[in-house]
Symmetry: C2
Subunit: 352 residues, 2 copies
DNA sequence: GGGTGCAAAAAAATCGCTTTAGTTAAATTG
DNA sequence: CAATTTAACTAAAGCGATTTTTTTGCACCC
């Protein structure tokens, strides 16, 4: 007589704190304190704790995310803004981000703005309505006006309070140009990225500076300006074709990224020239398939994964410790990966 | 005297329904009804509505996401599970997904399980704790036991209630093999994908069936079994090298995807043979860079973007109409993209 | 003039949790 | 032994919406 039938409760509707408290004949407070291992729970004896844990396990109790977040005003998610879900950039950075977020029980919302002004303006608002705890901006200079912590990767965002994670572009230019210089290249074509990409300007400055130091002339006639921000090698193919139609008076080209380099190699082949015998090609990023091109690409590796994981780390740290001063800038080091697409400079035989 | 100072309110803390109601001297109910354009609001006269809208605009009122979700028990987000943030697969599918979600004011959480059993088991639970409204499974056969709507893309999930979006693999094999057959290829090498990928088995069956019909022999000695699920061309390079060391008694190879095909092409070149003069290569997927390989890849295009957008569409439909019967299977059609990597079969001169 | 119906709005319940402020009984202290 | 502490809890407020139920006038109708 008086037998309890606790399982029955689980049958009408999902389990919640109230039901659990009725079952255990304990207050919701007690259960909440125990399950959250709150400091205020230190006076609760072991046997009671055990009862709580066991019931929670038995009934698979999970605190309602909304109710909890409403109280705590913390969503345990961040917003990630990027131009697109690009192959070769987004995925690599996000691998680093993901790894770190998972450990901290965070999730992320990804939003791709495709450089459309209305999306770039809309998404931050939408994400804030979603109550994200912070922003991670990839390659995105957007002026996100927000009191939330913001970490910007390769975005060169100069809003106050934003932490920038950037590559050392001077170093990048140095290792690439030094390599070409060493191989005897003096007449080098350069490729400037799309104006819209924040890295473009900084990388270009690095190139100009290092070229001057190495006494390599940056001739306007040998410069390619990429127009579109796209992940098709086409972006490199077309202008390279045009350049080769105009002049062949150079022995190497330094590309904006590996994708465009792939297009460039293709254009060189189509023009009846060989890489690297006639023209050496240096890429940028070191995307996975760079090593599997024909010829495999010499490239400046960006530690994208590390930049992502570092970014996530800093962001979560700022979220956990809001009083903390956010670091201004974190500079990451590039690395030159030498493969087949570069070789000794061809004897210049005025091919123009 | 009695002058109102409404702006002052906006200064102490963020705006919420209570503050807005005090400002407007209206109840929270009225405001909520108006802003949500609820049917019960039809008795509220135009001038009151206008007052509400104007104040909401002026103070930039946005309903608190948690409070609203707590009441509605709808999160307006879905969980996306995939093996990884792969280049060439994830990004393309998600472009389609994103596009559709945005319009419906949905966001997504992405979770990559890397085929680790503990993650495959953990993530669905974590996502349900996040109160996602549904699941989208990419390439992931996971048994997500959940009352929520589930749409599985290329996952061949046979759990009841799951909608599968799959490619017509029979058709895929047909167009690829018919193409090779027509070019005179009779001795063809085949590549079977990693066991772990759900598509592998279905694609293989399609190949066997079509090969029989075209009287093409599938010789075990000419079959490559991919072991790893990786997005490096290495996965194709190594086994192809091994195959070429063993025998050269074939004129074409049908690869599991474009990435492995890139590795295969490389291995063929390294063996001193030419594509397509000595060996024709057919890829699968039509990733963006497929057109920019040297030689450009003939490949079976999967409409990945469309599969994503279709999947998102079905999923959101099921979420909005829970009583609706979920479609069993939606079959998408592949398309053969003929480029440079296939050509007339080399005269068989017993190269083995 | 008392019931009916409707427009316009407000009160109050509710979602499920966290947390502040107590309460009660037992143990300890001066 | 009265006063204070402490252990072990609990009641209730509050987070900020949505939604059901009520209220309040006011017009209308025999």
């Amino acid at each position: 007589m008086g037998k309890e039938r606790p399982e029955q409760v689980s049958e009408n509707g999902p389990i919640n704190l109230r039901k659990l408290s009725e079952l255990l004949r304990l207050s919701q407070t007690t259960i909440s304190l125990v399950l959250n291992d709150s400091p205020a729970a230190k006076s609760i004896p072991g046997h009671t704790r055990e009862r709580v844990f066991e019931a929670a396990r038995k009934f698979q109790y999970r605190p309602n995310y909304f109710a909890r977040s409403l109280r705590r005003s913390r969503s345990m998610s961040i917003g990630v803004m990027a131009p697109d879900l690009s192959e070769g950039y987004f995925t690599l950075v996000m691998q680093g981000v993901e790894e770190y977020l998972l450990r901290a029980h965070y999730f992320y919302f990804a939003a791709s703005h495709y450089w459309k002004p209305e999306l770039m303006e809309q998404y931050p608002r939408m994400l804030m309505e979603r109550a994200v705890d912070g922003f991670l901006l990839l390659n995105t200079p957007a002026e996100v006006l927000s009191p939330l912590p913001i970490v910007a990767i390769s975005a060169h965002n100069n809003a106050p309070g934003v932490t920038n994670i950037v590559l050392d572009h001077k170093k990048a230019a140095e290792i690439a140009l030094a390599h070409l210089h060493q191989l005897g290249h003096r007449r080098i074509a350069f490729m400037k990225g799309p104006e819209i990409i924040p890295d473009t300007e900084y990388r270009w400055r690095g190139i100009l500076q290092m070229a001057r130091r190495l006494q390599i002339e940056v001739r306007p006639g040998l410069c390619i300006q990429l127009e579109a921000d796209s992940w098709s090698p086409q972006v490199g193919y077309e202008p390279m074709k045009a350049l080769l139609d105009r002049t062949r008076d150079f022995t190497a080209i330094f590309c904006f990224n590996d994708i465009s380099a792939i297009g460039v190699v293709r254009a060189i082949h189509d023009a009846g020239l060989r890489v690297p015998e006639d023209i050496s090609v240096v890429g940028f990023d070191d995307i996975i398939s760079a090593a599997y091109q024909k010829p495999s690409l010499t490239t400046v590796r960006q530690p994208l994964r590390e930049m992502g994981s570092e970014g996530a780390q800093v962001l979560l740290d700022l979220i956990e410790n809001p009083q903390k001063e956010s670091p201004e800038e974190i500079v990451m080091q590039p690395e030159l990966i030498v493969r087949e697409s570069t070789g000794a400079a061809a004897k210049m035989r005025r091919r123009a």
